[in-house]
Assembly symmetry: C2
Homo-oligomer: 273 residues x 2
């Protein structure tokens, strides 16, 4: 379990302190943090909790939401992203995950939203570099294209990331988002040196009614995890493997039991060659 | 409305006879048929109903489901597809829509399923050509990759279709399935001479709870229809534009009212330049 990280969204009802303690109890060496629970206790307190526990911060979720056309909203989004960069720096996070945002209310201009997203990344990348924070562009499953992430494929994310130095802008490979892509293995090869985060959870059927909570525990669905893990490793990624599951049933369960299950499934379903 | 076609799944409770009559009442010149309601009255009767009404058959839905690994299942699937080809020929359908199938029960071998799908198409294409039927490969939204269609992008569909003469194997451009694709316009250009069917319905949010019934009426969602219609026309497609909506609310409504709405929305949301 030397590379296993708990994304704290998987145990949604735990505070940062509880999630940190849960990781320690289960022997996990790393945690993926979210901004809202971090802000609830203050960034310095969160940073101290994590450091005192000896955990790594595999990622901070999340920056992004850069698709607004309205200038005032756009400015607010950029300001908020700069704050997210500052927080990631203070937490010593390996990267800041960027969920780029969907179509603005009432808009059908997908190409325009994608352009504004790219412009936003271009504006933020130097700021992040100045603070030693790596932006991690997260291609999202096309199910979220309209309302959450207009970055839809790993290829598209790399087209954008490659405009910047690899240490400034990388990509997230999240199995849930990319497993279906006929070109996923080729794009992971292309991502050599750019994989900033590797996240795992499963695609389950029937898909749960709420698309946002449709992720499954590894082994409960259709994804070949060893295939994708080997691919990211062959592309040079040796960082943490973060388990991030949004799922009403998982959230309703006892968080310690969830961590125990994911640690077991990590061994049986992610690690095997 | 010279090119507007009612896919009969949009008015799911109508029989073939009722759907044909509904098209005539509304002034639609074309209909997309499904095998099950056609079989319910027999193919010759369905063919006569459509011919007597002077309608075109823009497509027959559907062949496919070619991903089984088990030899007996595979043989049954191929036999059933040959019957579907025969039915499409007898109905004079412009194409047979191929929904290629998902992962077999319990399998995580997506690459294997895709290979078997391609082998199945290779086996069926000459048979279809011998009967004057064009196979129309339908790339499906990645939301359906696990359980319905491992053909996930227009590019992937064209990679396969291009192994065959264009009059034997074409592709379906269904706005719901392809609208999110960052490369959709480039792939539609590449599809010149290969677009066998153009289907429209909208991507709505929040996504309805049942993924299979998540399609919306044009104008209710996020898709830029004129953009995609112009692209398929510039790629040489001058055939019918089929409205295919799987949606519990649409199915619950009076079918004549649904046809009236879709005809109006076609004019206001699909046709404008």
């Amino acid at each position: 379990m030397a590379r296993l990280s708990l994304n704290q969204k998987t145990t949604d009802r735990w505070s940062v302190a509880e999630a940190v303690a849960g990781c320690v109890r289960a022997g996990l060496p790393s945690i993926g943090l979210w901004r809202e629970p971090v802000q609830a206790i203050g960034v310095p307190t969160a940073a101290r909790l994590v450091a005192d526990a000896g955990l790594r911060v595999s990622s901070l979720c999340r920056g992004g939401f850069l698709t607004a056309a309205d200038p005032a909203r756009r400015r607010r989004a950029l300001d908020d992203n700069r704050r997210a960069v500052d927080e990631a720096a203070e937490l010593g996070a390996a990267c800041l995950v960027m969920v780029v945002g969907g179509l603005p209310e009432g808009s059908r201009d997908l190409a325009g939203a994608r352009e504004r997203m790219a412009e936003g990344i271009a504006e933020l990348a130097p700021y992040a570099a100045g603070r030693g924070v790596r932006l991690a562009l997260e291609p999202m499953h096309p199910i979220f294209c309209a309302d959450r992430g207009v970055l839809s494929t790993l290829g598209q994310a790399l087209d954008l990331a490659e405009r910047f130095p690899a240490e400034q802008v990388g990509v997230v490979v999240d199995t849930f988002h990319v497993w279906w892509d006929p070109d996923v293995l080729g794009q992971i090869r292309r991502a050599r040196g750019r994989v900033a985060s590797f996240q795992v959870c499963d695609w389950i059927t029937p898909l749960p009614p709420d698309a946002l909570l449709s992720r499954g525990m590894m082994g409960d669905g259709h994804i070949d995890f060893p295939l994708l893990r080997r691919a990211v490793e062959q592309a040079g990624y040796a960082g943490d493997i973060e388990v991030e599951i949004f799922n009403a049933e998982v959230w309703a369960a006892d968080p310690d039991a969830v961590v125990a299950t994911l640690a077991r499934r990590y061994v049986t379903h992610v690690l095997p060659d």
